[in-house]
C-alpha cells in the first residue's frame, strides 16, 4: 500500500483552499490562523492518534481550516490497511447454529477457537491503529465503538458477528447518522448483546429500545418509560440468522404489528419509523454533539449553549457525520486554550498514541492488547453498554497505578536506542532473514505455534521425534535444542491473562536434520513451570500454550494430542496443549495440509466424482434435532425441523441446511411434505436458482418450497420440483430417503436429549413408518446409488489449519503511520530529533506547561512521565 500521509494532507489542504464546502465556517477568523506546533499536536491528538513530528510538520504553515480539511479527508477507513484476520474475513462457515448440539467438550473446543479469533481481531485493530495513515478515521471508529457497544464476553463467542459489526462501523461511521442507526438495529452482535434477538410480541425485551433512547440517540430525560415499552414493541422480531452469516432477519411472527405511541406520534411503527421519529426531535443532534464534545473538546467542561449551536448546524446537514466532525473541529471551542488538556488520554491514546508519536515499534507491540487491558481498555470488552466512561474513570486509583507503570515503561523505551524494525511475530518463521530471504537450512523446517505467559523468565520448550517400532515400542530418534518461548506476557507485571485470546501467539521454526528419517510422531515438552508470585498465581505464573506443530505438510493439532500430566485449567477441561504445569504433549495424530486454499469446493468435487461410493449419494457431516412438538393429529399443522451440516450431493455442497418435515391437513387430506426456506440454507438455497413457482411468505417475503411425499401436489409444488437441476432433484430424493437415518442420528445428539426427547418422544414414529412404506412408490426413490446417506463429519479446527497455512507466508515489516516501521523517525533521546528541542519539544508533546521542573537537555522520555502528558 502506498498511502502517503503527507502527500494526502498536502493535497487535501490545496483542495480545501479551492473548494471549501463550509464557506461560513472556513471564513471564521480563528480558522484563518496559521497552525503552530502546539495547534498541530492538539489537532492530531484529539482528532487522530498521537502526534508524530512528521505529522506535525506536515500541518505547520497551513491555516486551521486547511488542517481540518486534511483530517476530515481521512474519515473513511472502510478499506483496512492490513489484511483482516483471514479466519474472520474469508467467509468460511463456522457452525454457530450447531453449537447447542455439541457435547460439552466439543463446545469447549469451539469456544477456544472463537476466543483465539477474537484475539486476532483485537490485535488486528491495534495494528490498524498503529499502521494507519488515516488516524482521524480510527478516532471516529473508536468513538462509535464506544457509542454502539457490543462486548465479546456477552456474545456467546459470536466473534464473526462482532467482526461484521466492526466492519459495519468502518463502512457507515462517516456517512449519515440515520443510515448508521438503521444498520445498528439490524446488526447481529447488537441484537444479541441487547437481547433483542429473543424479543417477541408476547414478551418484548426492552434492552435495545431503552438504549436506543437513552444511549444511542436521545439521552436520559427525553422520553418516558412508556416510550421505552412502545419502542420495544416496534423492535420485536428484529433478529439475525446464525445458520448463515449473521445477517439481519426479520421475523414477522414475532413482530408486534399493532399501533404504537412513541414520543406523541401514533402509528404501526417499525424500527426505521422509530429512528425517523427520534431524529425529528431537537434532542437527538444535541445529544450526539454532546458525545462528540466529550471526545473532541472537553471531558471536564460543558457549554450547553455552544453544544446547542453546534447541534443546530449539524441538523442542517441531515445528520452527515463527516460534517459533524468538521463542525466540531471548526468550532471556536475546539481551539480555545481553556479547553486544551481537559481530556484524559485513554489507554489507547496513552499506548498507541505514544508509539505513533515516538516513531518505531518496540518488540513487545504485539502484547499491546494485554497492556490496554491492564489499563482498563480491553478492546471489544467495554464494561457495559454505556461504554468506557472516560475522563475521571481512566484515572481511578487502581488504574492510576497501572498507568504510572506503563508510562515508566514507555519512558524507558524512549530513553534507550531505537528498536530495530518490528516484525510480525506470528508470520515470520525464524529461518527467514529480515530481508525476507530464506537462509539455507540443512534439513526440513519444523514449526511450532505457541503462546506463553512469562513469570520471572519465559517457558522453555523442547521438541522430540519418535519412531514407533513394529512391536509398538516408541524410540526417541531426535531432540531439539531447548529454546525459550518468545513474546510471552509478563504476568508478574500485567497479571494473568483473562482469556487465551490475548496470548501473543508465536511461530518458531526449527530444523529437522536431513540425514534422519522423519519421525512417526512428536512430543513437545515444557519443564520449567514456575509459580507463583507471593499470594497465588494471580501474582504471576509461567505457563505455556501450544496450538500446533507443523512438519512436512503434516499438521499436528495440540487439541488432538495427549498431555501428561493433564493439569489443564481449574476444571482440567481445557483442551490438550494448555500447560499450567510442567509436562509433555504427545502429538501422534496429523492432518495433511492441502496446497489448495481452504474452503474451496474443488477437492469435494474431485472426491465425489472419483469415489463411486459417493456418486449420487447424500453425504452429511452432522445431523441434529432443531425444534419440534409431539405429533398431534387434532392439529392441522405439525412440523419438526432437523439441522444438517455439510450436506453434499455430487457437485453440490451446502454448509448448512435446515429441513422442516411437515404433516399438514389440507382439503380434508393429510399431506406430508419437506419445507425448505430461504433462511435455512447456506449458501443460498438452490444456489440462488429458485423455481419460478416458489412461494413467498406474505408478511416477510421469505421464499420457500415444498416437496410433498404424497399426494403429488398442486401445479406450483410440482413446478418447484420439475424446475430443479439434476443434482438438486437428487438432493431432494436423498433427503426424503435419508429420513429414517436422520431421525436415528439426531437422537444421539444433545439437542434431542435436552429438547426433543421429552417434547417429541416417539410421536413421529408412525410418520417415519409411513415414509418408509410410501417412499418406494414415489419419484424420490429413483436415481440414487444408495438411498442410505453417508454420515461423515468434516475436519474441524479450521482456524488452526488456517493459521498453519498462513504461517508459510512471511509477512514484511509492520507499518507505522502508513509506512514501514523502520522509516519512521525515532523520537527517543538516542536519535537526533533535532527539529524539536527544548520548548518546542514540550509544545509538541504536552498539552500544557509541565508540572515538574525539567533538567537541561531533557528529552521525550522525560516529558512522558510528567502528569500533564496524561492529558490532551
Amino acid at each position: 500500500m502506498t498511502c502517503q500521509i503527507f502527500w494526502r494532507m498536502a493535497k487535501a489542504a490545496i483542495l480545501g483552499l479551492m473548494v471549501s464546502v463550509w464557506p461560513a465556517l472556513a471564513s471564521a477568523q480563528h480558522l484563518q490562523m496559521r497552525m503552530t506546533p502546539g495547534d498541530a499536536r492538539h489537532l492530531l491528538e484529539r482528532a487522530g492518534l498521537g502526534a508524530h513530528p512528521d505529522e506535525i510538520n506536515a500541518l505547520l504553515g497551513l491555516s486551521r481550516a486547511q488542517a481540518i480539511d486534511a483530517m476530515v479527508d481521512q474519515l473513511d477507513v472502510s478499506a483496512p490497511f492490513n489484511e483482516p484476520p483471514i479466519s474472520l474475513s474469508d467467509g468460511e462457515h463456522v457452525h454457530y447454529w450447531m453449537l447447542n448440539d455439541y457435547e460439552e467438550q466439543d463446545r469447549q473446543a469451539f469456544r477456544v477457537e472463537r476466543d483465539k479469533e477474537m484475539g486476532e481481531l483485537r490485535r488486528w485493530w491495534i495494528r490498524e491503529m498503529l499502521s494507519t495513515s488515516s488516524p482521524a478515521g480510527e478516532r471516529l471508529l473508536l468513538i462509535w465503538s464506544n457509542h454502539f457497544v457490543s462486548a465479546y464476553g456477552s456474545l456467546n463467542e459470536e466473534v464473526h458477528a462482532l467482526y461484521n459489526q466492526h466492519m459495519m462501523l468502518r463502512e457507515k461511521g462517516h456517512g449519515r447518522f440515520r443510515d448508521l442507526l438503521r444498520a445498528v438495529v439490524r446488526d447481529a452482535a447488537m441484537l444479541n448483546y441487547l437481547d433483542n434477538n429473543n424479543s417477541r410480541e408476547e414478551q418484548p425485551n426492552e434492552n435495545l429500545a431503552r438504549e436506543l433512547l437513552e444511549l444511542f440517540v436521545l439521552g436520559e430525560g427525553q422520553y418516558t418509560e412508556m416510550d421505552v415499552k412502545e419502542v420495544a414493541r416496534a423492535l420485536t422480531g428484529y433478529s439475525y440468522n446464525d445458520l448463515r452469516d449473521f445477517e439481519f432477519q426479520f421475523q414477522p411472527w414475532d413482530h408486534d404489528e399493532g399501533s404504537k405511541r412513541i414520543l406523541g406520534k401514533i402509528g404501526r411503527f417499525d424500527a426505521d419509523d422509530v429512528i425517523d421519529i427520534l431524529l425529528e426531535t431537537d434532542a437527538a443532534a444535541a445529544f450526539i454533539v454532546g458525545t462528540f464534545w466529550q471526545a473532541y473538546i472537553s471531558e471536564f467542561e460543558k457549554d450547553p449553549a455552544a453544544i446547542e449551536a453546534l447541534a443546530t448546524d449539524w441538523r442542517k446537514t441531515d445528520y452527515d457525520i463527516s460534517a459533524l466532525v468538521r463542525i466540531m473541529l471548526s468550532s471556536e471551542e475546539f481551539w480555545d486554550p481553556r479547553y486544551r488538556g481537559t481530556i484524559v488520554k485513554s489507554p489507547v491514546d496513552l499506548m498507541i498514541g505514544t508509539l505513533r508519536s515516538g516513531g518505531r515499534l518496540p518488540q513487545w507491540w504485539p502484547t499491546l492488547s494485554v497492556q490496554l487491558e491492564s489499563l482498563g481498555q480491553h478492546l471489544f470488552e467495554a464494561p457495559n453498554v454505556a461504554g468506557w466512561p472516560g475522563g475521571a474513570d481512566w484515572i481511578t486509583p487502581a488504574r492510576l497505578l497501572s498507568r504510572n507503570e506503563a508510562l515508566q515503561q514507555l519512558a524507558a523505551l524512549y530513553d534507550g536506542p531505537a528498536p530495530s524494525a518490528a516484525s510480525d511475530p506470528a508470520g515470520t518463521p525464524d529461518g527467514l532473514a529480515a530481508d525476507g530471504m530464506m537462509t539455507p537450512l540443512a534439513g526440513m523446517p519444523l514449526s511450532l505455534r505457541y503462546g506463553a505467559e512469562d513469570f520471572e523468565g519465559p517457558p522453555t520448550i523442547v521438541i522430540r521425534g519418535y519412531k514407533t517400532r513394529e512391536d509398538g515400542r516408541d524410540i526417541p530418534i531426535w531432540r531439539s535444542e531447548v529454546f525459550e518461548a518468545s513474546g510471552g506476557i509478563d504476568t508478574g507485571r500485567l497479571g494473568r491473562i483473562d482469556s487465551l485470546a490475548d496470548l501473543n501467539w508465536q511461530v518458531d521454526t526449527l530444523v529437522y536434520p536431513e540425514d534422519l528419517d522423519p519421525p512417526d510422531w512428536f512430543s513437545v515438552g515444557f519443564y520449567n513451570d514456575h509459580c507463583c508470585g507471593p499470594g497465588g498465581s494471580s501474582g504471576g505464573d509461567r505457563n505455556l500454550f501450544i496450538d500446533w506443530l507443523r512438519f512436512d505438510d503434516q499438521l499436528y493439532l495440540a487439541s488432538d494430542g495427549l498431555q501428561k500430566p493433564g493439569c489443564r485449567g481449574s476444571n482440567n477441561d481445557d483442551p490438550p496443549g494448555n500447560f499450567y504445569c510442567s509436562g509433555e504433549l504427545q502429538l501422534r495424530v496429523a492432518q495433511t495440509l492441502e496446497p489448495e486454499p481452504m474452503g474451496g469446493s474443488g477437492e469435494d468435487l474431485a472426491t465425489s466424482a472419483l469415489n463411486p461410493d459417493r456418486q449420487d449419494r447424500l453425504v452429511i457431516g452432522r445431523v441434529a434435532f432443531d425444534w419440534g412438538r409431539a405429533l398431534d393429529r387434532t392439529r392441522s399443522w405439525n412440523s419438526l425441523s432437523i439441522s444438517l451440516m455439510d450436506v453434499r450431493m455430487n457437485h453440490l455442497h451446502y454448509d448448512a441446511l435446515r429441513l422442516e418435515l411437515v404433516e399438514h391437513r389440507r382439503n380434508g387430506r393429510r399431506e406430508l411434505l419437506l419445507d425448505i426456506r430461504e433462511s435455512n440454507c447456506r449458501p443460498d438455497c438452490f444456489y440462488g436458482q429458485w423455481p419460478s413457482t416458489t412461494f413467498k411468505e406474505f408478511n416477510s417475503g421469505e421464499k420457500r418450497v415444498e416437496y410433498l411425499l404424497w399426494p403429488g401436489g398442486d401445479v406450483d409444488q410440482r413446478g418447484q420440483y420439475d424446475q430443479l437441476d439434476e443434482d438438486h432433484r437428487k438432493l431432494v430424493h436423498g433427503l426424503w430417503s435419508a429420513m429414517p437415518t436422520l431421525f436415528d442420528t439426531m437422537k444421539d445428539g444433545r439437542n434431542w436429549r435436552r429438547r426433543g426427547q421429552d417434547r417429541v418422544g416417539s410421536s413421529w414414529d408412525p410418520i417415519l413408518a409411513k415414509i418408509t412404506d410410501a417412499l418406494p412408490r414415489t419419484r424420490y426413490s429413483k436415481e440414487l446409488s444408495n438411498p442410505v446417506p453417508l454420515i461423515e463429519p468434516m475436519a474441524q479446527n479450521s482456524g488452526s489449519m488456517m493459521s498453519a497455512m498462513m504461517s508459510q507466508e512471511a509477512s514484511g515489516a509492520v507499518m507505522l503511520l502508513g509506512m514501514p516501521d523502520e522509516r519512521v523517525e525515532w523520537l527517543g533521546s538516542a536519535s537526533g530529533a533535532e527539529r524539536f528541542e527544548g520548548d518546542a519539544l514540550v509544545e509538541i508533546t504536552l498539552a500544557g506547561r509541565p508540572s515538574r521542573p525539567l533538567s537541561s537537555g531533557f528529552g521525550f522520555s522525560d516529558l512522558i512521565i510528567d502528569p500533564v502528558y496524561q492529558l490532551k
Binding site: E104, A151, G153, S154, N156, D195, N205, E206, N207, R210, E299, F300, E301, G341, T342, I343, V344, P383, N384, V385, A386, P389, G391, A392, D393, I395, T396, P397, A398, L400, L401, N404, E405, Q408, G495, G533, P534, G535, G536, S538, G539, S570, N571, R750, R753, R754, Q757, G848, S851, R852, P867, V868, Q870, L871
Partner: protein, 389 residues
Amino acid sequence: MDRRKVLSSLVAGLSLPLAPIELAQAAGRSGRRLILVELSGANDGLNTVVPWANDRYRAIRPSVALDRGDLITLDDQLGLNNALADLGPAWQAGELAVLQGLGYPEQNRSHFKSIALWETGGDGNRAGRSGWLTEDVETMGNGFDAHGISLDGGMGIFASSSGLWLSFTSLHHLQTLSATNAGLGGLTTDSANPALSMLLDRGNALDSAMGQISTKIKQTGMARHVRIDGGELGRQAALAATLIRAGVDAPVLKMKIGGFDTHENQRGDHERLLRDLGRSLAGLRAALKQSGHWDQTLILTYSEFGRRATENYSNGTDHGTAAPHLLLGGGVRGGLFGRHPDLEDLEDGDLKYTLDYRAVYQRLLAGWFGLSDNRFSGFDDASLDGVLI
C-alpha cells in the same frame, strides 16, 4: 466540602448527593465492613440449600439429588449441603442467615450479562452502570484507607469514576504497586485545569492510601499473617483477615471463587467448591472472632444466577434462575429468610424467584451502613425484617 470533593463531583458530571453525608459518616466511623463473595459460574442453589423433604426434588433430579444423609438439617423441610459443614458452628451460633429465592425480573442466562447485573443492580430489562454500592458508600466520606478493595482482581462491582476503590491480589502485589507509585504524589494541585487538578489530587490521595495500608501491614509483622484452608478462596480470605487485623479500614472487600458452572457430573465438583467456600468463610470467621472484628463484619455470597431445577442429561444442571445466598456475621440474626421457590410451580423447568436480590442490597446499605436513602430504597422487602441485629 473540601476541594477534592468539589472536584470529584464536578468530574463525575453529577453532583454528589450531599444530604446523607453526616449520617453516613457516623456509620463509617463505626468500622463496619461488608465482604462480598462471588460464586462465579452460577452456584446450584437447590443443592446448596436442599428441600430434602420434598419428593418433587428427587423426581426432577434423579441423579444429582442429595439424600438427607448428605445434609445438615436446617428445619423440617430444608438442609444445608454437608460440604458446607464447616459453617455448622456459625449456623448453630445464629450467625448464618439463608436468604432464599433471590432473583430478578426477566432473567438473563449469560454468565457475563447476569453477573454484570448483580454487580450493578440491574435486571433483565435494564443494565446497571456503576457498582451497586459505590455511589452510596462514597457518601460515607473519605476517612478510609480505601472505600473498597478487590482481592481477586475483579473491579466490576467497584466500577466507579470516583472514590478510592483498590485492587490488589496479594501483599506482594500491594508492595509492587506501592513501589511503582512512589513519586506519583507530592505535586501541588492548584492548577486551573480541572483535569490536571483531579489527576494530581488523585495521585496524592492514592499515595497516602497506599502508604497507610503498607505501614499498617508492616507494623503487624509477618508472624501475624493469617492462613486459611480452602484453596484460592482460602488464600483471599486469609488476605482479607490479615488486612482487617492490621487495622486496614475499608468498608467493602471482595473475593471470588470460580468453577460453579456444573453442567456435567456435578456432584463431586460442586461439593469440592462448597467445601472450599465453607472452609474459607469459617476460617475467616475464626480469625476475625479471635481478633475481635467479627461483630463488625458481614459476609454475603452472590452468583450470576441459580441453576435449572430439573437436571440435564449429563448428571449436571444448566443455567437457571433463582437461588439462595448466605449472609453471615456477628451482626446477623441467623435463620431462614424469604420463601423457598415452589418446586410444584416451575416455569419451564425453572424456579420462580421469590425475592428481588436488590432487597438484600437495600438492607445492607440501610441496615448495615446506615444509608437509608440509597439506590435500592424502593426494593425493600419485609421478609428480610430482623436479619440484621
